[in-house]
């Protein structure tokens, strides 16, 4: 594996008596899609917040492109090339889609006209071209997810942290979104995605990390991960893996 673009080294996040993330380590190879999965409350979004500067890790290091960026504020990380989307879409509701995207584009394009032109290009890439003049508040859930993606892309990131961009979408919307994510990776943007839609994880990610109760409990190819007893237990409870195989054996008999 080449030098990772992002390396998370033993990051912990403690809130008082709650250890939300416990010495989590993982790495994202440049140009690849890495998935971060795990049950609800495992600490995935908290870990993203620690990587993207919204939270300062209690312990551990975040290394981006060889430099220690632990604890830098979000806007500095964004300018270095780390973009994130939010699990619950956070549009600038009073602005149009184009203006929303231009906020991100302004990081690389100080002039208004250049930023707006760049915004048009990004909207095209994520399939928002038709809605470009709509107010962001008028978008559907799927539209808002695309807008999250578009804004993040507008800062021309090298690393994109996607927090459940597929959540809340119906199956046909997911089928439309998956190629969009794939095309972003194809252009050389490294992606780390938190995702619950396993079908999408299987088809997109090459490497998958499983976070449960704040700890990375497994890593590997998505297909292999899905069969790991530890992973099944993390989702379904202790003994579930054994029961499932046991029941399988019963049914066969």
């Amino acid at each position: 594996m080449p030098d990772p673009l992002l390396a998370v080294e033993g990051v912990s996040m403690r809130f008082g008596g709650l250890l939300a993330v416990d010495q989590a380590s993982f790495a994202a190879a440049p140009g690849r899609i890495t998935a971060l999965i795990g049950p609800n409350g495992a600490g995935k979004t908290t870990l993203f917040a620690a990587i993207s500067g919204f939270l300062r890790p209690t312990a551990g290091r975040v290394v981006f492109d060889g430099a220690d960026v632990t604890g830098l504020p979000p806007h500095r990380l964004a300018r270095r090339g780390i973009a994130r989307t939010f699990q619950i879409a956070q549009p600038f509701a009073g602005l149009t889609v184009r203006e929303n995207i231009a906020v991100g584009a302004h990081v690389r394009h100080p002039a208004r006209t250049a930023a707006l032109a760049a915004a048009d290009g990004v909207a095209q890439a994520v399939g928002l071209a038709r809605d470009i003049d709509k107010p962001a508040a008028a978008l559907t859930v799927a539209g808002r997810k695309r807008l999250e993606l578009a804004r993040a892309l507008a800062i021309e990131p090298r690393l994109l942290l996607l927090d459940e961009v597929l959540a809340g979408l119906n199956p046909s919307e997911i089928r439309e979104m998956v190629p969009v994510v794939r095309s972003i990776a194809a252009r050389g943007v490294t992606i780390v995605m938190i995702e619950h839609v396993m079908q999408a994880v299987m088809s997109l990610a090459e490497l998958c990390y499983v976070l449960a109760e704040g700890r990375i409990i497994a890593q590997g190819a998505p297909q292999a991960i899905a069969r790991e007893p530890r992973v099944i237990e993390a989702y379904l409870g202790r003994g579930a893996a054994q029961r499932m195989t046991g029941e399988g054996a019963d049914a066969g008999a």
Partner: protein, 327 residues
């Protein structure tokens, strides 16, 4: 260019008033209204565009007024230079309060209360410090020469104030079309999302507050020259903080002409009240309170918002839906 046409029209209309009438009553009314518009335009930049609701713009108005007056009276500085220094000092106070409040992460009502507290502290300091004339106040010596920023007639005062207002009006669309403006509005709409996109929200808010304070301080400096007297209650009193936010909210916060519209409406109502009810103290504040409640309840985007809606309705009227969609 289109954004500047309404500004040019309004300013030209107001500039023509002295050609039509030389009535001191009319000019005095317009000076009072334009002063509120100027102070409100300062508030509008931070509150309307930036979404940071200050209850303490008196801190900047008062600093502008006191620096303009005290530099002349105590240190013999030329009035125009003192006026410019007042604007700079107001901006500095804005930057300082902004840095303290925004670095501490204060938002919403916490920010509003802190600005109110700063204005009150300054008012109390000004009412005891010898340099400000303490409880007696500061009187600028009468010197009716233009070099001293004083005029026999109200017309030059009026035109200078109108020029200041015009400048503050032109500034708004210019800011709205800049990266700074785009980022300021983004911070208003969703601060976390803005930060994730590379916007240094704290720096943007401090910059907006500095500029906002400078505009409002210009109003304070003008006040000192026009009335030639200030004391702590006038300069740093809550009345000016209220006017600063009332005008833009009534007229339409975050719009270019909102503060001017609001100031004219509010001041007209205030004068009308005086005509009807005599000079009962505090009655105008009761009216302001009523107007504020009505606006917040029925026209949250102010008069400018109502006008936009009416314009859309007018454009759509009598057309088929298809045509309207086309237009």
């Amino acid at each position: 260019m289109k954004a500047y046409l309404p500004i040019a029209a309004v300013v030209a209309l107001l500039a023509a008033v002295p050609l039509v009438t030389s009535s001191n009553v009319v000019l005095n009314f317009l000076v009072v209204a334009l002063l509120t518009a100027l102070v409100g335009q300062g508030w509008n930049l931070l509150g309307g565009y930036g979404g940071q609701y200050s209850f303490g713009h008196a801190a900047f108005f008062g600093t502008g007024a006191y620096v303009t007056a005290v530099l002349q009276v105590r240190y013999g500085v030329n009035a125009w230079i003192a006026f410019a220094a007042g604007i700079v000092a107001g901006a500095a106070v804005g930057a300082a309060i902004g840095a303290l409040a925004f670095r501490a992460g204060l938002r919403g009502s916490y920010f509003a209360l802190v600005t109110l507290a700063f204005a009150e502290v300054l008012r109390i300091l000004a009412s005891v410090a010898p340099v400000t004339g303490a409880g007696v106040g500061t009187l600028i010596r009468l010197d009716l020469r233009w070099q001293a920023f004083q005029f026999q007639s109200r017309v030059p005062f009026y035109l200078i104030l109108l020029a200041l207002v015009a400048l503050s009006l032109v500034l708004m669309p210019a800011i709205a079309r800049s990266r700074f403006g785009a980022w300021l509005v983004a911070v208003r709409e969703n601060e976390d999302a803005a930060r994730a996109l590379g916007v240094d929200a704290t720096a943007i808010k401090i910059a907006a507050m500095t500029l906002s304070a400078a505009i409002t301080a210009a109003g304070g400096g003008f006040y000192a020259q026009y009335y030639l007297f200030i004391d702590a209650g006038i300069a740093y009193g809550p009345w000016i903080s209220i006017e600063a936010l009332l005008a833009p909210i009534v007229g339409g916060a975050g719009t270019v002409l909102g503060p001017l519209l609001g100031a004219l409406v509010v001041k007209t109502l205030g004068e009308a009240t005086k005509l009807v009810a005599g000079d009962a103290p505090g009655l105008d504040l009761v009216i302001y309170g009523g107007v504020l409640i009505l606006v917040v309840a029925f026209a949250p985007r102010g008069i400018a918002g109502l006008a936009t809606d009416a314009g859309r309705w007018w454009a759509r009227r009598g057309k088929t839906p298809a045509e309207a969609g086309h237009a």
